[in-house]
């Protein structure tokens, strides 16, 4: 629900990493993060908005990100999120793990199929 029909649902646990990657470009508020992920994935990944905010709460609790009220370009009050040092380390670790995982799975699935 929330994602449009042809979007890929997110594998569990990757939302945090995606948010952190977004924030590695600088502080953003919630909507900016959503659009960043949508644009970067070419619209293929769908993030359910309320799930995003839940994730942001969780990460703030775990001190992977910090939050502060700020002002948008249009002078609207928005809550800006920023990555912490711990968040940066987490992103590095998650990226490495994801790449390793993806390589391993891709390697198996794309190997010549057994003749059926």
């Amino acid at each position: 629900m929330g994602a449009t029909g042809d979007q890929l649902p997110l594998v569990k646990g990757t939302l945090d990493a995606l948010v952190l990657k977004a924030l590695s470009w600088g502080p953003m508020h919630g909507f900016e993060i959503t659009t960043w992920v949508e644009e970067r994935s070419g619209g293929r990944l769908g993030v359910e908005d309320s799930a995003l905010y839940h994730a942001l709460n969780r990460m703030e609790e775990r001190e992977l990100i910090d939050a502060e009220w700020g002002v948008t370009e249009n002078n609207r009050r928005a809550r800006y999120y920023r990555m912490t040092a711990a968040g940066r380390a987490h992103l590095r670790a998650e990226t490495a793990r994801w790449v390793e995982y993806a390589e391993a799975v891709t390697g198996i699935l794309t190997s010549p199929a057994q003749a059926g």
């Binding site: 919630g30 359910e48 969780r58 939050a67 502060e68 009050r77 928005a78 809550r79």
Partner: protein
């Protein structure tokens, strides 16, 4: 928000704030989404619907996001608080390390205060608060006392005849359970193995009062506790089982000789169980079996009614448990009615000769606490212990005051640092938290040290003050530790509050200015008040010490009329060995002969009574003397000629009992001085006739007047009549006078005389001083404790005064420099500083005086022969305090007088 900013954040977010934040965030997200879609050409309404769809179920989302946001804030706040606490602790620990002297002083002071309290709490808890081990629903259970009024004075006793217990048990309706018990020393074992130990004589109905199961075997039943002599079964005490039988389970069925009867061991009591006794019990036997052993032969020898039917033996104690719904008052009323009925039965069996009716004696029964020291006959020890608990609380207060002063001084030194922190935005709450953490840390360290102190000192104190009480646990048991924890927390908070209050509104700008000085007269009122409080409490404690020391001195130098420290009282127990009267007589003579032959023995006399322990009184009549003058009861003794030499009682006029006062010879008596003066106030008593018992008794000629003796500290000298043992009744024992202190010779004498004993008979030798000492103990306790605490209080107060004056001098270096520069001499400076210290002390003294004089009337009953307003004591204490105050101020004063004005004027 960055971590630093977070640390300085002023207020945590509240729920409403969080909720509105969440709403705002969601609203922004939706608006931006809508704008994005509109930019892509979608009409606004469709865009709105699409935005809502993409967001997810809105209400649910809003609720759950608010919830998760709140949780986030809570968790963050908790973590921050913890981090703040850790930081504070580290900071406090670092502070302590940097100033170890200061920390040591504070910890030591608190350790003394808390340790003293822990010790006293342990003692008071045992005596007054903690119910006997294993007792179920202690509030419902109680001891029963009987009060009678004789000659205008009511006396309350917890001891009653067995028959009275049966009567009360029969006739009352208020109790679910009743039981009888009696704790006494009895002789255990035979031959060389024989020794004295505590026996608990209990009825079979005693066991259900407690929630206990035997560690081994079983308890005895109603069937085994029936008159006339019960069954010879015994339940061993746990300690006895471990120490004497090595915890051997095969102990069941073994025989054990207690008193004069062979008992069979049928069970072992659980660990820590000692019935209602404060000291450990070696074995529990049925009260009927015990009663028969103690009194059976004695009663039958005199052809009197059996021990369980007589009303003349007051020995055992009764306990009962109220039925649910029955109040203590109702129980008391029920008991009183039953008591009256019992007294009537008693009177019907044997009419009273005194001419008094039952109602004249105003008999009443009392249902009181199961703890003896909270009932009507609370021992002196309990009262003194309570006082001392109060005193130790005062000492803790002084310690806290001192520590608060020290912390205050330190906080003021750090005022710049704190002002900077406040200017940077640290909240007052945070600052307060930090100060409290410091003081709580110090308090915790003080508490730990205090517990160790209590552990060591407590053991010493218990042995010194209450040696006959069994202390089952260590000094530091769970309840005491809980108490210590509470005391430490209180101390920490109290001492932390002082600097916190002081700093709650510093003038920030003022203190940040370079060169800001504290004015000379702007003394902290709080600190002065603390010093005054310390002075007052020290005075009160020292006055208490002085009064108790004088009481103790009075008690110890009191003329008792005999020499307890040189006397042994020697008697024997037949323990079942059959002896006829001639043999018994002969045995006593043999014992006396053998004792006289010992080189360490000076004299041996026969006696029937022992002051401070066993007395027997009777009426006295004299022809020609009005009976109204002879209403008091006179103490009696039947003695041998050598008695007066042995006891050390001087004969003032005439002679003592002599060898010629045999059976058949003319009857004689020796009177004590007071007895003689009471009967014949204006005439010489020698040669007069006196009758013991009634007018019909034979005349005894007064042949001598002896020195007055006392039989207790509470009363004045006793009116005493001495008769010849050959002419009145057998003696019960010997007074053996030793060369030097009797205590050291007890065992040698005992063993020597034991050799003469036939069968299982057992010789008992008891230093008479041991009967007197427990009576002295309350005053010794009071004197020791008040002196220790008073000294402690004074030390702490002196150190406090010294440190405050020192600090004041350091602060005023500039001002003093000015004074010296302007021409003040060193003597003037010294006088100035010492004058201030003395002024503070004086205010404290006056305050303490007021309280001491007012509270004096509560201490009065505890003193002996000294007024609670004794001027000498007060004078000495006041002078001592002033001297200490001057001394404590003098050293800093000297330092002040040596201030070099050049240096001083330039300092900051």
């Amino acid at each position: 928000m960055s971590r630093i900013r977070r640390l300085l954040r002023l207020r945590p977010k509240r729920a409403a704030q969080i909720a509105s934040d969440v709403d705002e965030e969601i609203a922004l997200h939706l608006d931006l989404r809508i704008e994005q879609l509109v930019r892509h050409g979608i009409p606004r309404e469709t865009a709105r619907a699409e935005a809502l769809r993409r967001f997810g179920p809105l209400d649910e989302a809003r609720r759950s996001l608010r919830h998760s946001a709140r949780r986030r804030e809570e968790r963050i706040r908790m973590r921050e608080t913890l981090e703040a606490l850790m930081q504070d602790l580290r900071y406090a620990a670092r502070g302590m390390r940097k100033q170890p002297g200061f920390a040591a002083a504070v910890v030591a002071t608190l350790a003394l205060g808390i340790g003293a309290n822990a010790t006293m709490f342990g003692i008071v808890d045992r005596l007054l608060l903690r119910p006997p081990a294993y007792l179920q629903s202690p509030d419902e259970a109680g001891r029963i006392y009987v009060a009678r009024t004789f000659d205008g004075e009511e006396s309350v006793s917890g001891n009653m005849p067995y028959r009275r217990y049966l009567d009360l048990r029969e006739s009352t309706r208020s109790f679910a359970q009743t039981a009888a018990h009696f704790n006494t020393e009895m002789v255990f074992g035979v031959g060389d193995d024989a020794r004295q130990a505590r026996a608990g004589l209990v009825s079979a109905s005693f066991w259900p009062f407690f929630g206990v199961r035997p560690a081994l075997g079983r308890f005895f039943t109603e069937a085994e506790d029936a008159e006339p002599a019960g069954a010879p079964v015994a339940v061993l005490g746990y300690g006895q089982w471990q120490s004497r039988y090595g915890g051997d389970p095969g102990v069941l069925g073994k025989p054990i000789r207690i008193g004069g009867t062979d008992f069979t061991i049928i069970g072992v009591a659980p660990r820590g169980f000692s019935g209602l006794s404060l000291s450990a019990v070696a074995a529990f036997i049925p009260i009927t079996a015990g009663g028969a052993d103690l009194f059976g032969e004695m009663m039958s020898r005199r052809n009197r009614e059996p021990w369980y039917r007589t009303y003349n033996l007051q020995w055992m104690e009764m306990i009962a448990r109220r039925k649910p719904g029955v109040t203590a008052e109702a129980a008391t009323a029920d008991l009183t009615t039953a008591l009256l009925r019992s007294l009537e039965t008693q009177r019907a069996a044997r009419p009273d000769r005194s001419g008094r009716s039952i109602a004249d004696t105003r008999p009443r029964a009392i249902f009181a606490s199961i703890l003896r020291d909270r009932g009507p006959n609370a021992g002196q020890n309990a009262k003194v212990a309570t006082w001392l608990a109060g005193v130790s609380a005062l000492v803790l207060l002084i310690a806290c005051a001192n520590v608060a002063n020290l912390l205050l001084a330190r906080a003021v030194r750090r005022r710049r640092e704190i002002a900077v922190r406040i200017a940077l935005g640290v909240s007052r709450g945070r600052l307060l938290g930090q100060l409290l953490t410091e003081s709580l840390l110090l308090a915790a360290a003080g508490a730990a040290a205090g517990v160790m102190l209590a552990h060591w000192g407590g053991g010493v104190l218990r042995a010194l003050l209450l040696p006959d009480v069994e202390w089952a646990g260590a000094v530091s048991d769970a309840r005491t530790l809980l108490f210590v924890g509470a005391a430490a927390a209180l101390a920490g908070i109290l001492t932390g509050l002082a600097p916190a209050v002081q700093l709650s509104n510093p003038s920030v700008a003022h203190t940040l200015k370079a060169g800001g000085r504290e004015g000379s007269l702007r003394k902290s009122r709080l600190r002065t008040a603390l010093l005054v409080l310390q002075g007052a409490i020290s005075l009160m404690l020292l006055v208490g010490a002085g009064l108790f020391v004088r009481s103790l001195h009075n008690v110890r130098t009191l003329e008792l009329g005999f020499d307890p420290e040189r006397l042994l009282y020697v008697s024997y127990e037949a323990r079942g060995t059959q002896l006829d009267s001639a043999r018994r007589e002969g045995l006593m003579d043999e014992m006396a002969e053998r004792a006289r032959a010992l080189p360490t023995v000076e004299a041996v006399g026969f006696t029937r009574t022992v002051p401070f322990w066993m007395t027997w009184s009777d009426d006295v009549r004299a022809p020609g003397v009005d009976t109204t003058r002879l209403r008091d009861s006179y103490l009696m003794n039947a003695v041998s000629p050598e008695y007066f030499a042995a006891a050390g009682t001087r004969i003032l006029r005439g002679r003592g009992i002599a060898a010629e006062d045999r059976a058949g010879a003319p009857l004689v008596a020796v009177l004590s001085d007071l007895a003689a003066r009471s009967i014949w106030p204006n005439e010489e008593a020698l040669g007069k006739c006196v009758k013991v018992g009634a007018d019909t008794a034979p005349c005894r000629t007064v042949v001598g007047i002896a020195e007055d003796i006392r039989r207790s500290f509470d009363e004045g000298p006793a009116r005493h009549v001495y008769m010849s043992s050959a002419q009145y009744a057998d003696s019960r024992g010997l007074f053996v006078r030793t060369r030097g202190e009797a205590r050291g010779h007890t065992e040698t004498v005992r063993r020597e005389l034991q050799r003469l004993m036939p069968g299982a008979a057992y010789v008992e030798a008891r230093p008479v001083q041991e009967l007197v000492d427990p009576e002295i103990r309350p005053w010794r306790l009071g004197a020791t404790m008040f002196t220790i605490f008073g000294g402690l209080a004074l030390l702490v107060a002196a150190v406090g005064l010294y440190s405050v004056i020192s600090y004041g001098v350091a602060q005023r270096t500039h001002e003093l420099g000015v004074r010296v520069a302007l021409g003040a001499r060193s003597g003037d400076v010294v006088r100035l500083v010492v004058g201030e210290g003395t002024r503070v002390a004086l205010v404290g003294i006056v305050l303490g005086l007021g309280v001491a004089l007012f509270a004096g009337r509560y201490v009065k009953p505890l003193l002996y022969s000294v007024s609670e307003r004794d001027p000498a004591t007060f004078a000495v204490v006041i002078v001592a305090l002033l001297v200490v105050a001057v001394a404590a101020s003098f050293i800093p004063a000297l330092r002040a007088s040596r201030v070099d004005p050049n240096v001083a004027l330039r300092t900051d």
